[in-house]
Subunit: 404 residues, 2 copies
C-alpha cells in the first residue's frame, strides 16, 4: 500500500505535465477497451452477483450499462480540457502581472461500494483533471471493478501514460481503508467516499486528509400558493418517483395551506405506488399514514413521501433549515418574487425554481460526468465534475520588482 | 463555549442575509472605533508586553500600527462586496438556467497567537465575506485582542448587526482550543490557524473540521543563467532581507553554474548582515559557512540564506520539488522560455518571474487584506482574502422541467 502511494505521487507528477491530448487519448482508449472487454466484465460481474447477498441492483451490469459507461467516457474525452486554463488575470500598480491558472489537485483516493461504474467514471474524471487516482472498491464489487480497471489500464498503456495513474487496491483487505484514511503517508490529497451512509460517515469522521462527498440528500420540494397545480403535480411526481434511490430524490413535500385543498387530494393519483405520510392537516384533506417526527429527517430512498402543510414561504424555509441536509431544494410557483426569495434564502448546494430535484446531477449540469455531489461548503459544492477536481496556482510575471 | 457555537450559527444566518451596505458600515465603524480606542488598546498591549517573555516583536502595537489596522479596515469597507456575485451562468438543452452565485461559508474559527492585528483583520475579512467568526487568541496577546475586539463589537452594534457575528473566547482556557478543534458541536465550518509551527501543526493534525493555513513557507529564489546579475542581486536581497520573519521570505537561493562566478561573490555585499551557507561549489567561489543537508529544509525566518549551485532549470525544479513547501518560488532570468517553463513546472501556490518572493501577500495581490497564505491544494491557495472565504451555490430557474 505504501508503495502505491509513492507510485501515485510519481504518476501525478507525470500527469500534471502531460499534454491534454494525451489524457484525452487515454480516456478514449479506455472507452474502446471497455466495449471490447464487455464479455470479461460481464463474467466478472456475474461472479460478484452470485456471491452477493444484498444491493444486487446497484451491483448489476449489463451490455447496455457498459455501453453507457463507454459513451460517458467518450464524451469526457472530447470535452475541452480544464488544466492550464487561465481563470483570472490582472495587473497591479507594482507592475506585476498576476494570472490564476487551473492545476490538478494531485492524488485522489476513492473509497466506494456496490456501483462498479464508479471505477470508470472516477478514472475518466481524474484523467480529465490530471489527477492520479487510487481506487478502493467494496469487496462485493471487486471482480467487476478489477475487470473495468483492466480496461482503464489498457487505455493508459495505449496512450503512453503510466498505469500508476489509476491504481486499484487489489485485495478486499479492511486495513487498506484505514491506510487510505491516514492518507497513505502523505500521498493522498483528497478522499472521496461514495456509497451507503455508514461508509461515508466513517470516511468523513476518521479521515486525516480532506474529504469531498455527501452524507445525505434529504431534498425538499415546496409548492407555493401561486403554483400551477398541474405543473406542481408533474414536478413532484418526477422529483419523488422517477428514481427513488438517487440522492436528488425529493423526500419531503411542503405545501402552502392556501393551495393544499387543490393539490393534496390529487397526490395519490399523480404518484402511483408512493406511500404518503402526512401531518395532521394533510390527513384532514385526504386519508394517508401519519408522519412522525422522524419522518421529517429520514432519507427514505424509497417510494415514500412525507407531506407537511405550511403557512407560507417563511415556514417552508424554516423547515428546510431545520431538517434539510444542504443538498437540493425546489420551489414550485408562478410568483417570481417568492421564487427569488426562496433561491436567495435557502442555503443548499442546489436551489431550484419550477424544476424537479432529480436534475441534481453533473450530467444535467453539463459537466459530462460527476464523481458525486458535495454538500459541504468548502472547495466544491453540488455535482463534482472534472473542474471541481482541480486546484489553481498564481503565476506572477514581473520585471525586477522588489517590495523595498 | 457550546453556547458560543450556537450563537455564531445564528449570527451567520443573519449575516448571510444582511445587505452588503450594512456589513460595510460595520467594518467602517469598527475602523473608527479602533482609532478612537487607541489609548485603551495601547494600554492593554503594554500590559501584555509586560507579562510576555518572548515574541515581543510580534506582540507589540504602537499608534502607527493601530492606524494601519484602521486604514486596512477602511479599505475593506469600501471594496466591492463578494457575496451574491454571479460567478457563472449558463443554459442547458433542458431549458434550465443555472447560475453559480457566491455565498458565505458560515462560521469561521480562528486560532492564533502573538499578533493582535489578526483580531481586526480576521473580523473585517469575515464581515466582508458574511461569515461569523470565533476568535481564540493566544494567552500572551489576550488583553490586546480583547481591547481590539471591543472596537469590532462597537462597530457591529453601531451598524445594527448582532455582536455574536465576531466572538472572542474570553479565557485563556486550554480546553477552548480542543473544543474548537472538535468544531464546537458542528458550529464551526472552517478553522484557520495562524502562528508558530507548533500551533499550526497541532490544529492541522487534530482538527475534526476543515482547516486552511500553512505550516511552512520555505521559499526559493532561482537565478537562471540568462539573468541580469544586477537585477538578480536586487531581487534576492529584497526576497531575503526586506523582512526575514515573513512566510514569503526566501530561505534558499539556487544559482545556475554558468552565472555563479558573476553572482555569488557579490552576494555578501548585496545582502549586508546576512549569513550565507553554501554548498561546496559555492564555497569554492567565495568563503562562506557550509550548508548541511538540514539547511535545505529549514525555514530560517532569520538573516540566513542557504546557497546551492545547480546545473540548470531541471535541477532547480527538482530541488524545489524535494525541499519546497508549496508556498512561493521565483525565477530570475531574461530567457522567456525558461521563465515560462519554471512557471508551468513548479507546483507552488505562487510562482514568480523576475520579482521578489516577498510580494506573496494579499495586499500585494490586491485583495485588500488577507487572513493568511494557504499552501494546501483544496478550496483556496495562496493569499486568503474575502473572496477565498466564500463558498457558492447553484440557483436553477426552470419552467416546469421534469427528468422523465
Amino acid at each position: 500500500m505504501a508503495s502505491m502511494g509513492a507510485r501515485a505521487r510519481a504518476a501525478a507528477e507525470t500527469l500534471r505535465l502531460a499534454p491534454a491530448a494525451r489524457r484525452s487519448a487515454a480516456i478514449a482508449a479506455a472507452a474502446d477497451a471497455l466495449r471490447a472487454r464487455s464479455p470479461e466484465i460481464l463474467a466478472a460481474n456475474a461472479a460478484d452477483l452470485a456471491a452477493a447477498t444484498s444491493l444486487k441492483d446497484r451491483l448489476r451490469l449489463d451490455g447496455e450499462g457498459i455501453e453507457a459507461i463507454s459513451r460517458a467516457l467518450r464524451g469526457l474525452a472530447s470535452r475541452p480540457d480544464v488544466i492550464g486554463e487561465e481563470m483570472e488575470r490582472w495587473s497591479r500598480p507594482s507592475g506585476l502581472d498576476i494570472a490564476r491558472v487551473r492545476t490538478p489537485i494531485g492524488v485522489v483516493g476513492m473509497i466506494y461500494e456496490s456501483r462498479p461504474n464508479v471505477t470508470a467514471d472516477a478514472a475518466a474524471l481524474c484523467l480529465r483533471s490530471a489527477n492520479a487516482l487510487i481506487l478502493r472498491p467494496g469487496s462485493e464489487a471487486l471482480r467487476s471493478c478489477l475487470a473495468i480497471h483492466s480496461a482503464i489500464a489498457a487505455g493508459l498503456a495505449e496512450s503512453g501514460l503510466p498505469e500508476d495513474c489509476v491504481q486499484i487496491v487489489p485485495t478486499s483487505d479492511r486495513d487498506a481503508v484505514g491506510m487510505m484514511l491516514e492518507g497513505l503517508g502523505g500521498a493522498i490529497d483528497l478522499l472521496i467516499p461514495r456509497g451507503g451512509a455508514a461508509l461515508v460517515e466513517r470516511v468523513v469522521r476518521e479521515a486525516k486528509v480532506p474529504t469531498l462527498g455527501h452524507l445525505e440528500g434529504l431534498c425538499h420540494s415546496y409548492v407555493h400558493s401561486s403554483a400551477d397545480v398541474a405543473m406542481a403535480l408533474r414536478i413532484v411526481a418526477d422529483a419523488k418517483m422517477r428514481r427513488t434511490s438517487v440522492c436528488g430524490a425529493t423526500e419531503t413535500l411542503l405545501v402552502d395551506r392556501a393551495i393544499a385543498p387543490a393539490l393534496v387530494p390529487r397526490l395519490a393519483g399523480a404518484l402511483e405506488g408512493c406511500e404518503l405520510r402526512g401531518d395532521s392537516e394533510a390527513r384532514r384533506l385526504v386519508p394517508m399514514a401519519a408522519a412522525a417526527e422522524a419522518d421529517w429527517s429520514t432519507e427514505y430512498l424509497a417510494p415514500i413521501l412525507a407531506v407537511r402543510i405550511v403557512s407560507g414561504l417563511d415556514e417552508a424555509v424554516d423547515h428546510i433549515r431545520r431538517y434539510g441536509t444542504g443538498h437540493t431544494e425546489a420551489i414550485v410557483c408562478s410568483d417570481e418574487a417568492a421564487a427569488e426569495a426562496f433561491l436567495a434564502r435557502v442555503d443548499s448546494a442546489i436551489v431550484m425554481w419550477n424544476a424537479s430535484t432529480q436534475f441534481a446531477d453533473g450530467g444535467e449540469f453539463g459537466f459530462g460526468a460527476e464523481i458525486g455531489i458535495a454538500t459541504g461548503r468548502l472547495h466544491a459544492r453540488g455535482p463534482v465534475g472534472a473542474e471541481q477536481l482541480t486546484s489553481f496556482k498564481y503565476q506572477i510575471r514581473g520585471s525586477g520588482q522588489t517590495r523595498g
